[in-house]
Symmetry: C2
Subunit: 294 residues, 2 copies
């Protein structure tokens, strides 16, 4: 059993990016600039956005946090998005989800300039990804692919079972791993709430990617010997003995599954940190692409 | 065994559309107008485009065939595309593929106004489809979905194996059938050239969608009793005893497979005619959407 150490790999990636940024500075070039828009005061969102901004600072990116009050109207948010689209200093930006209920998320995501859409959530980027064109790949599936690449996990012709058909993880990773290329060329089965025989499927899988959000859903009995296990679940379980009042757990019953798996991602320290690293990578790519056009 | 009669269903759909068009005319409204751009003289392409134009005439659509010589430059074709985008009389249009080798297909498809992209090949339409948003669905997978719906084939929770990962059939049908909704909610496995255990997978499938282009690839021994078989393969096999010098065959060894299947599409007369019907349906949708905006 080998840990797919997302914390280590994400640090490697950040260091690689920091070196590139330092070279940019030496050459007198503009460094990448990431902006994040946060509406309201959701606890998890504050943590995520804060962590993204801090990562930018560490690697030498410029960053801007735009924190808007919960009462912000859709119109005001769309105006802010237009400003970010028009601002040549901003290479990429994210609108942290979820948005307050009175704002139409789809409308906002559609308004983001696809060339600054470093989350890869705009349909044109999603479509380009699915059609094997250059695009921004959503950070979480991009992180999974990178982790598989760096550990040289053999994926070609392997049976992959993806659990969960979300737009930001399950759907895109099912597409990416079944395409041609590195960390791909797999035979992918996408499962979801209507799947009837999930255990039968996971038992036959060489690789399982679980993005369900149900703590300890994937048990040792559900996987085959030597399987590769990617745990994308991040659930906060309330726990008063913890300082912050909760602990983080994944979809996988790690303690037991790790004995049977050949590779496994821990939670925390697996896919989570990779997501931030790949957001930074996308911002670096955005800068390079804008440079090329300028 | 029951034939999924694409010829009959496509005629039903065309009749339904013809009724709508007649009503539009009565109300003094503009009727849908489909244009087709054909570059060069590829035999199959000439047949397909001709058949699309004739279908338009039959149901009361306006149609325009733009036949350009093989030597047309990319620039000239892009100019034609711009004209079609700008022409308010054209509701939707297609650029018949393949294009001559000196023209960059991707560049041309990217230039088509997504709101007139009735083939559903533009990445923004593909992305919207994958993200469960309103879009134009590529005609062939759209036709398969419609066929399944009209015959009330039970797909929910069923295991579907798709053979082939092409951008116009395998990939989109794998996405559509694994989404929520009618003729969907299936557990879909997408297989391709690197898949190692294709027979093992098809044997477990409740529904097989074959879009490979290899005559008689799918044999009786590869499917389970009562499976639903969708044959998207259309191969022209040279045959001098035939008037036109070839015969058309699908991916499925029909004669033997039909004995074991619960539903099966014939070739010809299955998915093929559905493709044209759904192109017309998309053009009708385009007209309605433009009307709403006007």
């Amino acid at each position: 059993m080998k840990i797919l150490d997302g914390k280590k790999i994400s640090n490697d990636i950040k260091e690689e990016i920091a070196v590139e940024v330092a070279q940019m500075k030496e050459r007198g070039e503009k460094v990448p600039h990431l902006a994040a828009v946060l509406v309201g005061n959701d606890g998890a969102s504050l943590t995520y956005v804060g962590s993204k901004v801090r990562s930018c600072e560490k690697i030498g990116f410029e960053s801007t946090l735009i924190h808007l009050p919960e009462e912000t109207t859709e119109e005001e948010l769309l105006k802010k998005v237009e400003e970010l689209n028009a601002n040549p200093d901003i290479d990429g930006y994210i609108v942290q989800l979820p948005l307050p209920k009175h704002i139409n998320e789809e409308k906002v995501l559609m308004a983001v300039d696809p060339e600054k859409d470093v989350d890869g959530f705009h349909p044109v980027n999603f479509g380009k990804m699915a059609l094997d064109m250059e695009s921004f790949i959503p950070a979480t599936p991009f992180g999974i692919m990178e982790l598989l690449k760096r550990y040289k996990v053999d994926t070609e012709g392997k049976n992959v079972v993806v659990i969960g058909r979300s737009h930001i993880v399950g759907r895109p990773i099912s597409i990416l791993m079944s395409q041609k290329g590195e960390a791909a060329n797999s035979t992918v089965t996408l499962t979801h709430s209507r799947t009837r025989n999930i255990e039968e499927l996971t038992k036959q899988a060489d690789i399982v990617v679980s993005a369900l959000g149900v703590p300890k859903f994937l048990k040792e009995s559900m996987i085959k010997e030597g399987a590769v296990i990617i745990d994308v679940g991040i659930t906060r379980v309330p726990d008063e003995t913890q300082k912050r009042g909760y602990y983080i757990t994944g979809d996988v019953d790690f303690e037991n599954v790790e004995k049977k798996a050949s590779f496994i991602t821990p939670v925390p320290g697996g896919v989570g940190p990779m997501t931030i690293a790949m957001l930074l990578k996308n911002t670096l790519l955005a800068r390079a692409r804008h440079n090329k056009k300028a």
